[in-house]
């Protein structure tokens, strides 16, 4: 979806609740209230670029023109499996264990 116009000002609580859900963050009502005001202020400040005509300006994603970087396909030592798994919250059979992805824990 494309929207070349800057949206109307006024970030709503519903907007913030929606992005919090997308970002896997749960907010209390008080947090929602506080964050909405703070984020709206930042977005409002960002409206200073509104007057700029940048339609013909190419976007910059990165300081350099990024190209694929490859290396020779050689086997080299990797991270130590035991050391990596030792840092995991829960491990079973050399794998990261998580709660059920579908449904609920019995």
């Amino acid at each position: 979806m494309s929207n070349a116009e800057t949206p109307e000002p006024g970030l709503t609580r519903e907007d913030v609740a929606a992005v919090a859900r997308l970002a896997l963050l749960e907010l209390t009502d008080d947090e929602l209230e506080e964050f909405t005001g703070q984020l709206a202020a930042v977005l409002d400040h960002a409206r200073d670029v509104e007057a700029l005509d940048v339609a013909d300006v190419a976007p910059t994603h990165h300081p350099f023109r990024l190209e694929n970087v490859t290396r020779p396909d050689r086997v080299v030592p990797s991270l130590d499996r035991a050391e990596v798994l030792a840092q995991a919250p829960l491990v079973q059979d050399d794998r990261f264990r998580v709660p059920p992805a579908l449904g609920e824990q019995p």
Partner: protein, 479 residues
Amino acid sequence: MSALELADAVRTGARTAVDVLEQHLAEIRSREPEIHAFNLVTEAVGREQAAAVDAAVAAGDDPGPLAGVPVALKDNTCTRGIATTAGSRILDQWRPPYDATVVTRLREAGAVLVGKTNLDEFAMGSSTENSAFGPTRNPLDPSRVPGGSSGGSAAAVAAGFAAVGIGSDTGGSIRQPAALCGVVGLKPTYGGVSRYGLMAFASSLDQIGPFTATVADAATVYEVIAGHDPLDSTSIPQPARPITATLDQGVEGLRVGIIGELSGDVAAGSVEGIAPDVVARLHEAAAALEAAGARVGTASVPAAVYGVSAYYLIAPAEASSNLARYDGVRFGLRVDGHNTHQMNANTRTAGFGAEVKRRIMLGTYALSAGYYDAYYGKAQRVRTLIIDDFDAAYADFDLLLSPTSPTTAFALGAKTADPLTMYLNDVCTIPSNLAGHPAVSVPFGVGDDGLPVGVQVLAPMQAEPLMMRAAAVLEAAAA
């Protein structure tokens, strides 16, 4: 003693690395409870490394250019087997399974790790008040902040806890705390120093660099940590440019431009909020360069005034993606839930602090359907404008000059209630990150409150050698 003097003393056997380390640990014991520069003091590791350096000296081997130099490392930089927190509950007690490339290179150069320094959580902040483990205080006035996000590393060098601090700079996080703590802070060219092992905040902006007491120390540390690293695909495929060899060549004949938009002269188009005492030091610094033979004029980088707006859309957008990995699955905190999705949400809700949540949400919003073009897309085009304006300025000037921070160190708590006010601290430093250019903050006198002022020297891509020559002239003039 500077890092170079310490290394020289250790290499010649005048002092042992263990003795140098113990002296710094004594300083830490005496003032660290008040300053809180560190999340972890690595006494045992440091003693082991120092003993190895002394053994090398005794065996007649070259222990490296940073022999026995105590280094304080920002705690978003991975150290194998040593807790690395990023100032966040979500990584409390996490022990990385590998070393960052800068850690390996520093060790190979003979440096000794004294500790992991405090920071704003995931490097998001300008005061080091956003750490989950409490704020760091400015050693020059503990009622003030040290700046941020690398405030712990800046404070560690200013307090004499370490001769070298390592920080990361995404929007000014090395240069601004360097200015507020009265030390030298160098942000190299993007891609100049490997980011392997640095916890990603905004990948197209992040860059590692040193804090030191002197310009020559910063140049030496740069030469140790810079240069191509195959483990970072954005690393410039060239060796580090030598800086130290030409450091004393002065600025005779160089053209230096004061960035009008960051000069404090609002009538002439400058951003507002740059304090008069900071502006005064900027002009004194320009006069010092002129006295040393530089030709000083006023440069124009018109789009620089939009830097804060562009940055606070681009950096949160990249952060919202980079921080998706902290989900309780593979490392760090897990707060359980009845299914994976709920576990992920519970972990992130409990593990991240308020500023990190703000930026993740801001970035998620800026990238969301319907708003992408208006916010993120526009910010990327503004980024191009800033680069183009810098390029135009560098057609007329070899180097540019600006304040580093709009003010001297502010009081703890002064700006925590209003994130936007905090963000505006970065107005002078952000443009270099957006362009990928190097910049360095050099202490230059004090403000009306007696606290240090930093002057920033900016240069085009990979022009660190020239930039550091000007920094050396400013250092000499300020002395």
